[in-house]
């Protein structure tokens, strides 16, 4: 069986007495070390699916297993990175990074060493004593990434982690994430609504559509890192996604025939 195995997974919410279907009949297998993007417009259930795999909001139909074990809640072995960073504003950058290490049996020096090495990895060693409010959005997200990596998780869940950043910072961070992840060899599940971001980052893209949220198709990205955003292959993959999302103008083609 695959590392992450999702079988007939579905989720319904009850809101104001009415049942609302957020996710229906998802089947997906993810291997260890894969970079998976969940891609789709808002309301397609991509974050719902991520939260279900991460264990925050469990599915109420079907099953999700990681390494053969049913997901029943968040695990310290899999860390989630949120769009709004989730940094603790009353802690300095280094204390934020140390958050997940405080439960482990480490000496003070060992802990400080780990914190320092991960801050170096995200190039923020000069900001160890700063508070989150003194950092830009991109720097905050890099702190969150360092904090997540510091506990050496098996899986990284990223819920639109770059959604709040400007386009240029975003592209830089995409490179940083690819770079770090190839080095650390983590399994990554990354939620985004940005088609280009998905093509740039993923090994496989899970394209999802709303009403109700479901998987429309899974696309292998046959490109090598690093990728050229303007190459023909890149555009071809992008085109396939447009196709899956029914965003091509089919009527015009019919008219020409």
């Amino acid at each position: 069986m695959s590392y992450i195995h999702i079988e007939n997974a579905g989720k319904t919410f009850v809101e104001n007495g009415q049942e609302f279907r957020a996710l229906t009949d998802v089947n997906l297998d993810i291997e260890k070390g894969e970079f998976i993007c969940l891609l789709g417009p808002s309301g397609c259930g991509k974050s719902t699916l991520l939260n279900a795999i991460a264990g925050f909001d469990l599915v109420n139909e079907g099953s999700i297993t990681i390494d053969g074990k049913e997901v029943t809640g968040p695990s310290t072995k899999n860390v989630t990175i949120f769009q709004n960073y989730g940094l603790l504003p009353w802690r300095t950058v280094e204390k934020n990074v140390a958050l997940g290490l405080e439960n482990k049996k480490l000496s003070k020096d060992e802990r400080a060493g780990i914190v320092r090495s991960y801050l170096e990895m995200v190039k923020l060693e000069g900001f160890a004593k700063s508070y989150p409010r003194q950092l830009s959005g991109g720097m905050k997200q890099r702190v969150a990434i360092a904090r997540a990596l510091a506990v050496e998780p098996d899986i990284l869940f990223m819920d639109e982690p770059l959604g709040a950043l400007d386009a240029i910072t975003r592209m830089k961070l995409q490179d940083d994430i690819l770079d770090i992840c190839k080095r650390e060899k983590k399994t990554i599940i990354f939620v985004t609504h940005d088609i280009e971001e998905a093509v740039y980052l993923a090994d496989r893209i899970v394209v999802m559509t709303p009403n109700p949220g479901k998987v429309k198709g899974v696309l292998k990205v046959p490109l090598h890192h690093f990728r050229d955003r303007t190459s023909g292959d890149f555009l071809l993959v992008r085109d396939k996604i447009f196709d899956l999302l029914n965003m091509k103008n089919e009527e015009a083609i019919e008219y020409n025939i």
């Binding site: 925050f56 860390v79 989730g86 009353w90 958050l99 508070y131 989150p132 409010r133």
Partner: protein
């Protein structure tokens, strides 16, 4: 420069107050014994200081204040943390609090005197009541308003109670709780005087009653002035402590 300016504001402001008082004294028809001038009140203040009576009243009042206010804040924050973490229980407790909260602490006074007699306790109880409800309700609302993402992050990193309380809940809720503790200091000090006027035979509040009984309006006004000064200083000191703790926890 900024400090110098703020000293200037204080001096000018107080000078205006004393001038208004002096003008009112000059034009008033009351006898000097009933409506004394600022100078007479100042002389009375010197008299209170040299006789040691002021120090004695001050120590008595401060003792009651520290016990009443301290216990109240501790009890309200602890109860607030519990109720804030148990919203379903709070739904049952809230109507009770909303009923009790608008009752002026002085309204409890006769009842408290009936139960505990005249002495330290009535004043302490009234201070306790004055500070208790605002601190309790602010603490509950501060806890309930904590962003869910902090709990998700803590859960993800395996931070459980009791570590969750002092690593996440308290620092996240602290700014609002501290604000309420600070505001409650003012009302607690106000009700100390009320409590001592009705339920005690000593302290600053009683000193006012005593001065009235002896028709010593100069002593009475001097005491009122001292009460104001102490209230101001307490507020200032707590403000400094609040800022220090906020800074230690990375607040603005």
């Amino acid at each position: 420069m900024k400090k110098l300016n703020s000293i200037k504001y204080v001096v000018v402001s107080l000078a205006i107050l004393i001038i208004i008082w002096q003008v009112a004294f000059i034009f008033s028809d009351y006898s000097e014994a009933l409506f004394p001038s600022p100078i007479m009140a100042f002389n009375a203040l010197i008299e209170l200081l040299t006789s040691g009576q002021l120090l004695e009243s001050f120590i008595t009042s401060m003792g009651r204040f520290v016990i009443g206010y301290g216990l109240s804040v501790i009890a309200a924050v602890i109860l607030g943390l519990i109720l804030g973490s148990l919203p379903r229980v709070f739904n049952y407790v809230n109507p009770m609090l909303q009923l009790l909260r608008p009752i002026s602490p002085t309204a409890w006074m006769p009842f408290v005197v009936l139960l505990f007699g005249i002495g330290d306790l009535p004043a302490i109880v009234i201070i306790f009541i004055a500070a208790f409800f605002p601190v309790l309700l602010s603490t509950v609302s501060a806890i309930m308003k904590i962003d869910d993402i902090y709990f998700r992050v803590s859960e993800n990193f395996g931070i459980r109670q009791p570590a969750l309380l002092w690593k996440v809940i308290l620092p996240a809720a602290f700014p609002q709780i501290a604000n309420a503790i600070h505001l409650a200091l003012g009302s607690a000090w106000i009700f100390l005087v009320a409590g001592e006027m009705v339920g005690a035979q000593s302290g600053l509040g009683y000193q006012i009653i005593d001065a009235r009984n002896n028709v010593r309006a100069d002593l009475l006004l001097a005491t009122i002035f001292v009460i104001g000064i102490i209230g101001l200083l307490l507020d200032y000191l707590l403000g400094i402590v609040e800022k220090k703790v906020l800074r230690a926890w990375g607040g603005e």
